[in-house]
Symmetry: C2
Subunit: 381 residues, 2 copies
Amino acid sequence: MRSKEIDANCIAILGAGNGGHAFAAYAKSKGYKVKIWNRSISVIDAIKKNGITSSGVLEGHFNTDLATPSIQKAIEESKLIMLVTTADAHKEIAVQIAPYLTNDQVVVLNPGRTGGAFEVSNTIKQHNGPFKPQVIEAQSLLFVSRCTKPSHVTIAGIKRRVPVSAFPSFYNEEAIPALKEVSSNFCETESVLNTSFDNIGAIFHPAPLLLNVARCEDPYVKYRHYIDGVSPSVACFLEKMDNERVAVAGAYGVHAISLKKWLNLVYGSTGENLFEIVQNTKEYQNVIAPSNLDVRYIFEDIPTGLVPISSFGEAAGVPTPHIDMIINLATSMCNKDYKSHGRTIESMELDKIPSYLLKEYVTLGDEFYIEIMNQESVLEE
Amino acid sequence: MRSKEIDANCIAILGAGNGGHAFAAYAKSKGYKVKIWNRSISVIDAIKKNGITSSGVLEGHFNTDLATPSIQKAIEESKLIMLVTTADAHKEIAVQIAPYLTNDQVVVLNPGRTGGAFEVSNTIKQHNGPFKPQVIEAQSLLFVSRCTKPSHVTIAGIKRRVPVSAFPSFYNEEAIPALKEVSSNFCETESVLNTSFDNIGAIFHPAPLLLNVARCEDPYVKYRHYIDGVSPSVACFLEKMDNERVAVAGAYGVHAISLKKWLNLVYGSTGENLFEIVQNTKEYQNVIAPSNLDVRYIFEDIPTGLVPISSFGEAAGVPTPHIDMIINLATSMCNKDYKSHGRTIESMELDKIPSYLLKEYVTLGDEFYIEIMNQESVLEE
């Protein structure tokens, strides 16, 4: 099963949604051998038959080298394995790829949301994967893209800077170069704690949706997620959530960017307060809100965003009452216990590590334990 | 100061809003001597100058016998003292009337919301009022009325049945007859626990507002509080809050009416679930939602509705997570600590009484302690 040699020029794309379509077209345009996998076979059939037609900043028609419902076939040979599904599916995919994965391959989470690298790395090890899997977490998707129907993608933009880090960061030197060859816009950051705590979507997606739930569910009303959905009181609430996120990051020695600074940095938006800054963001003017709660703003952002941030907070003694309120609201409205299904310190197997040592662990990985043991034996002498 | 004799035919109306205007016109139409007080003097001046013009189910022009900014002058002589302010003002008014109150007078809270009688009764005693003040709590306002401008009121309806009880219920026989003379639609219920736990507004007002906050604050959008504001998910949430309220009441031996049953009883509305029942309620079709959060749906219903229900729940070991979520949301969005400002078991001085004995205490009042002491001495023998 581990017979075929790894081909540095071969990329597996797991997930054929907005991001998967864009990655496949982009990688083909760069001359890579591209194999794409998707859970639903109708999408695979369409790509097999019609290839991928891309419009926007990348115009062209591209045929993938393989479109398959077999995850094993998709990943064999591939140097880079790009996970481009919603983050709530990461664990399940990690289970599926683990038996076929080798030490030479690099798994990239596009993006990992919060704690994706911990979850995927641990899951791979638990399911007979390599003992030291190379897992990279990207802070966001490289593309602003929309797959209007299978085989068709519009790439509205390519982000100029997507921070990435491997877990442990120790592997960055080995793992990241292959990714940077795909796009030099991927840039190395200190550790996956940075990519994890800079999860802006966790703040920006679920709360405005839940605080507009009746409008979201009204079949006769369309409204804009940011422009109509973020009123002065909602903006104040988001800032309180965001302060909690930044405080949690700070407790682990990580300087997370604030929502306001991020809006300024990414979109150049300015204003007296968060409400004004959101209203002044040109890119948000026509973003229509979802029309129900069964959307990734909830089923992805709660368990792989707010739940792990809250759990990191609890472990470090940083209270997150506003983040918890949104988790609880979603839990009640969707009748799903996100706290027990989501990523937590325990499920990410970080509960044995004191919070003040986590940064070191994330840098060193299992070498960390050797370091600690050495230090302890020094102390004992 | 306690010189003037009590006149059984004299009523003091404290508060000249929707309810105060209606009560004044109604009492005058019944031949009572009516004295009306209001905090803001402009309203008093208007009533002094123009009297009250009532339209709707009561048509006519009525001159009050006194319109005054002096609460002392308003209550002297009056057998019935009708509090018709928002419930969050009850405590302050109790402080003001306490020194002038006598044992012959009856204070009526129209309505008391949750725990009004406890709060007012204790406050009167603490501020040199009679040791055994007669305080009646009404479950709702007698009228469906709107004061369009000072001196003008439209009475759309008079409720057929308004449950009332004194605290302690022991006083019902003595206190309620005077009230029933004003309107036989006031009907005695078991105790103020019944009027307190049947606080439907606490469930129906704040949650739909907070879960539609961006729309509420949008100056360009008008929407209907119930018809647009209660979507399927909001209705599910309200039912969970309502189940908590009913469970808390049950823990004190009180059978509270459910929101669904109440809608059926009061409006004859039917449907498969709460969402449908609300949508089928004719009276709700045109109720426009408030346009900001500085409204009684928040500043009255949170501290005198949800906070005391939650506190009663905590004391009896009944969890109220959904009610607490709404308290916390309001606390965050309005930057006001409603939990410490609102009515609690402690502030109502009920914390010394075991929850299983509360019903007895509410019936007997201070006689309760004598009973308990007797029982204890029996046990000691």
